[in-house]
């Protein structure tokens, strides 16, 4: 048992703490505040405390828990809401009221709930680490796979079906050195990545139902995305949309240093939203980690790791997991704050010199992986990290370190946001390095014309940007008709395709087939319009075609009508432009 020697904000120095190791968890003071050892110097041990330290005095006891900061993994994670160090917020509310009392502890997984365990291995089977020996139906959407813990292999001595709590032994494995008990629950230190056999190149897109993302800047399952943007540019809405509609099996949402009401929004809307594939509530596949901005800063630092460890655990079962981290800047700021208290030599803008390493370590935990098991099993973790650069300027260290390691960049733009162009992803600055790799998937699974439509649309948007500069000088009327047509089609792409309302029931999710239908219709319009111009029509005449109205409302098409609607629309476009052209020629 050690003693507090000094308190300065979230940093506490303790002495006489015997046998303490780096990153061990300790309990500080009479309240038993949770902390983590971050420096050992002789008899003095520096501790970062995950809770407010007001009222702690020198001389109070410090107890070593003797293990690093860990999370409990097992059935019951889904549908839960945790703080940054995996304390269940619903239980805390029940026991300590509406405000989070300090020093409160509760087990992350419900220890009294019984789970129906079904074996998939039998007594006498030879099993090795990572192998699935049983299953639990965790929610109506997800079957929880019970795996042999790491480092354990041998023959199953006993295993049985039945109802168990997370602490009950469901199987005993005879190993070379004795026996090992398998429970529904395992523990894992958050700062250590769970091992995989190897990582594979990502080949399948994460379908998000967001047009600008899937069509223009797609992300692969197992990929990494950076979403930097100034405040009010819609980072959080993008993250919410992805966690609602992305076609991953599991979503881990980490609210890291952000607003309390945003977490409430998820808690109230997700149970009502239905998964477009299965028709089950989205909450059934979601784990929430909420460490809001006013909750202790050190726990904010831990929240990202808690989230990624849970994501890796489900990946190991063979699931595709998407992790949303909103916002990694707050996590970096927590690092900076603690670094400052430790009086470390600051790097750029006061951030510690190891910021870049921490950021890349975190994103490296993503990936499309062959997981540890003698059975062939694959799973993926996709990381979408929001970044909140001060003043929206991405030249700052957190954005730059993130962009170095992520392969997709969705640049949110405040000037788009202020004209209510949402999602405000800037099509000229953003990029996806997966675009080429995933094009094949889209061409095989959606339409042959996918790649061509994409390239054509991007070229038009690029051209528009150049023409805009000319218009600034000479005015719109001075442009030749052909160029007016480019501006016209670009405007259609922007308004009728890229803009997508997250709050509209139909438009909130757009299937790849509908996305292609929409873009294809606009491109067809562009081509035929050009032909008509060749024949001598003018843009002024073409701008009054009735089919335009239909194009501007194609977002409202319901998913079940997609095929019929778009074949009809194409016909109408061809029809009207044909006659439009013919008339002109006749005249």
């Amino acid at each position: 048992m050690g003693k507090v020697a000094r308190v300065s904000g979230p940093v506490v120095i303790a002495e006489d703490l015997e046998g303490v190791r780096m990153y061990d968890v300790v309990r500080v003071g009479e309240l038993g505040l949770v902390g983590e050892v971050i420096r050992i110097a002789g008899k003095n041990v520096t501790i970062q405390v995950y809770e407010d330290t007001s009222g702690i005095r020198p001389g109070e006891a410090v107890e070593n828990v003797g293990k690093p900061l860990s999370v409990e993994l097992g059935p019951g994670l889904l549908k839960s809401i945790y703080d940054g160090i995996q304390r269940p917020l619903d239980i805390i509310r029940e026991k300590s009221g509406d405000f989070i009392r300090r020093g409160f502890s509760a087990t992350p997984l419900n220890e009294s709930a019984k789970w129906e365990f079904k074996t998939v291995a039998a007594k006498g089977d030879q099993v090795s680490e990572g192998q699935i020996i049983g299953e639990v139906q965790e929610t109506s959407l997800i079957t929880h796979k019970v795996m042999v813990p790491y480092g354990v292999s041998g023959k199953i001595e006993s295993i049985k079906n039945g109802e168990f709590t997370v602490n009950d032994v469901v199987a005993v494995i005879k190993t070379a050195s004795g026996t090992a008990d398998v429970k529904l629950k395992q523990e894992w230190p958050v700062r250590v990545a769970r091992r995989v056999m190897g990582k594979l190149p990502p080949t399948i897109p994460l379908i998000t139902g967001q047009r600008v993302i899937d069509t223009f800047f797609p992300v692969a399952k197992g990929g990494t995305v950076a979403v930097p943007g100034p405040f009010g540019s819609g980072k959080t809405v993008v993250q919410h949309q992805l966690s609602k509609w992305a076609d991953s099996d599991i979503v881990v949402y980490v609210g890291c240093g952000e607003r309390g009401n945003e977490m409430t929004e998820i808690l109230t809307t997700f149970p009502e939203l239905l998964d477009p594939k299965s028709g089950k509530p989205l909450m059934e596949r979601t784990v929430l980690i909420a460490n809001t901005s006013n909750m202790p800063v050190a726990a904010r630092e831990a929240s990202i790791y808690t989230g990624i460890t849970i994501a890796e655990y489900y990946r190991d079962m063979g699931y595709d997991v998407a992790l949303m981290a909103d916002s990694t800047s707050r996590w970096a700021e927590a690092l900076r704050e603690i670094s400052g208290r430790l009086e470390e030599m600051p790097g750029e803008e006061g951030y510690p010199a190891y910021l870049g390493r921490r950021v890349s370590e975190f994103y490296e935990r993503s990936g499309n992986a062959k997981v540890v098991s003698n059975e062939e099993r694959y799973g993926s973790v996709t990381i979408v990290g929001a970044v909140s650069p001060p003043g929206g300027d991405v030249s700052e260290p957190v954005s730059q370190n993130t962009l170095r390691v992520t392969r997709v960049f969705w640049a949110l733009d405040s000037s788009l946001a202020s004209r209510r162009h949402f999602p405000s992803i800037n099509w000229l600055n953003s990029y996806s390095l997966y675009q080429g790799e995933l094009e094949k998937w889209f061409e095989d699974n959606v339409s042959k014309g996918w790649g061509a439509a994409y390239s054509e649309a991007m070229a038009i948007l690029q051209k528009e940007a150049e023409l805009q500069e000319v218009v600034q000088l000479v005015g719109y009327d001075a442009l030749p008709e052909k160029e007016k047509a480019v501006l016209d089609i670009a405007r259609m792409i922007r308004e009728d395709f890229l803009q997508q309302s997250a709050f509209d029931e139909v438009d909130s999710y757009c299937s790849p087939a509908k996305q292609f239908g929409m873009l294809n219709a606009i491109m067809e319009m562009g081509r035929l319009q050009n032909d008509a111009l060749e024949r001598g029509a003018t843009m002024e005449q073409l701008s009054s075609l009735p089919v335009r109205e239909k194009i501007s409302r194609m977002k409202e098409t319901k998913e079940e009508d997609v095929e019929k609607f778009f074949s009809g629309l194409l016909e109408e476009i061809r029809e009207q432009l044909k006659t439009a052209g013919a008339e002109m020629v006749g005249a």
Partner: protein, 460 residues
């Protein structure tokens, strides 16, 4: 040890006292300092180790010495007395009465550093607050439990606007217990008088609690003030079930005080000298807005800040915008044109708007109408700068209509009287009237049925 006085100050630098041979002071413990000339001041423990406590003094250190000055440790962190009796009273930044009235008698002593609201306990804010101001109600709707700051600049009409909101704010169809808490940080006595008179003239003073820290008062009290004000607000909201509107003015002064004290503590500075923990610090203020499930009260915050040099990327508005649920931005250009309230709707935003509007709350067409107004005004403003270069003649016919729309939007929708209280119907109808300047085919953001129902185009 609590209750014992020490004369063992070894060093005084800036606002910091180093007290030696102290028996284990608690972190953030409150202390009382008595100088030889008989004045007493309060302070707080910043750093504590065995036998040494670093104390931060609230207020000046003039008259303090080594040897005679006594430091008494209170044994507890900062607390204030709260009660219903606070309504109609004026206090200083530490929660002590400053209106000459009697001191508060109550058993309720609460810590001013509140614990964080459990995110699981929060209730999603969704009750529309009608402020009677078109640009807010129509386009950046305020809801109960929201924190919506006003980003202003020196010389703009933020105080008048805040007073108008406080005067007119109401929840439709409900007569509930409502009170205003006004926290003034580092504002001039003239500004303070404006608010006091405003509250007195409209009879709102009896439903208000005022906390005043004028520009001549100590910086440390300025830092305590919002915490004291919000602790009071929490008591009235969650214990007394009242709906509280908290107006904090001016957050820029608060942040300046934070920087001053941080530099006195010799901390590593962050951007522009503001401390690295300013985001966390501001969030412990702003995040105290909200609603709690199962409780009848609520706290809505309208912090006011003046952007230094009208720069929205300055750390103070920047960090604030990342925490608050939107912002209302005042524009110098509009004010120059004689438009009150000069709210520039384009950079303004209310993140909780969607929860508070629509059928059953305001009107079914609200979302679409607002979006359409936004995009039309944005387009009009773009064209305005374009026409300044190429001339209005070079614009197409429909572009000229957008120009007309932008002008009328500013002079009729944005502009309104200080005592003009527009209902939400008036606001939305006005919006439709302005939209009818444009061709009906441009209405891409609104549903067809709403155009037919609310549109003001002449039927052909």
């Amino acid at each position: 040890m609590p209750g014992i006085s020490y004369k063992s100050i070894s060093q005084i630098t800036g606002p910091l006292l180093f007290v030696e041979k102290v028996g284990n002071a608690a972190y953030n413990e409150l202390v009382e300092i008595s100088t030889p000339d008989g004045t007493t001041r309060t302070g707080q423990v910043l750093d504590t180790s065995k036998g040494l406590a670093v104390v931060q003094v609230f207020g000046p250190t003039s008259g303090m010495d080594i040897g005679k000055t006594r430091v008494k440790f209170s044994g507890s962190t900062a607390r204030i007395t709260v009660s219903d009796e606070m309504l109609g009273r004026i206090f200083n930044g530490l929660g002590e009465p400053s209106d000459g009235g009697p001191s508060l008698i109550s058993k309720e002593r609460v810590e001013i550093v509140g614990n964080a609201i459990n995110p699981y306990s929060r209730e999603e804010p969704s009750e529309f607050i009608e402020t009677g101001i078109s640009t807010i109600d129509g386009m950046n709707t305020l809801v109960r439990g929201q924190k919506l700051p006003i980003f202003s600049g020196s010389g703009l009409a933020h105080n008048m606007l805040a007073a108008q909101i406080a005067r007119q704010a109401k929840v439709l169809g409900k007569g509930e217990n409502f009170a205003v808490i006004f926290g003034a940080m580092g504002i001039t006595s003239e500004e303070a008088n404006f608010f006091i008179n405003e509250f007195r003239n409209t009879g709102a003073l009896s439903r208000a609690v005022l906390f005043l820290n004028l520009s001549s008062d100590p910086s440390m009290e300025r830092i305590m003030l919002p915490k004291v004000a919000l602790t009071t607000a929490e008591y009235l909201a969650y214990e007394r079930e009242m709906h509280i509107l908290v107006i904090l003015s001016d957050m820029t002064n608060y942040c300046e005080a934070l920087r001053e004290i941080s530099s006195a503590r010799e901390e590593v500075p962050g951007r522009r000298g503001y401390p690295g923990y300013m985001y966390t610090d501001l969030s412990t203020i702003y995040e105290r807005a909200g609603k709690i499930r199962g409780k009848n009260g609520s706290i809505t915050q309208i912090p006011i800040l003046t952007m230094p040099g009208d720069d929205i990327t300055h750390p103070i508005p920047d960090l604030t915008g990342y925490i608050t649920e939107g912002q209302t931005v005042l524009s110098r250009d509009l004010q120059r044109k004689g438009i009150y309230p000069g709210i520039d709707v384009l950079p303004s935003l209310s993140r909780l708007m969607n929860q508070g509007i629509g059928k059953g709350r305001t009107r079914e067409d609200h979302r679409g109408t607002a979006d359409q107004l936004y995009s039309a005004y944005a387009n009009g403003k773009d064209l305005r700068s374009l026409s300044a270069i190429v001339g209005e003649e070079a614009l197409g016919a429909s572009d000229r209509l957008y120009l007309k729309f932008a002008d009328e939007f500013e002079s009729r929708f944005v502009k309104q009287g200080v005592y003009e209280d527009r209902s939400i119907e008036t606001t939305l109808d006005l919006g439709w009237e302005l939209l009818s300047i444009l061709p009906q085919s441009e209405m891409k953001r609104v549903k067809k049925e709403f155009i037919d129902k609310y549109g003001k185009w002449r039927k052909e």
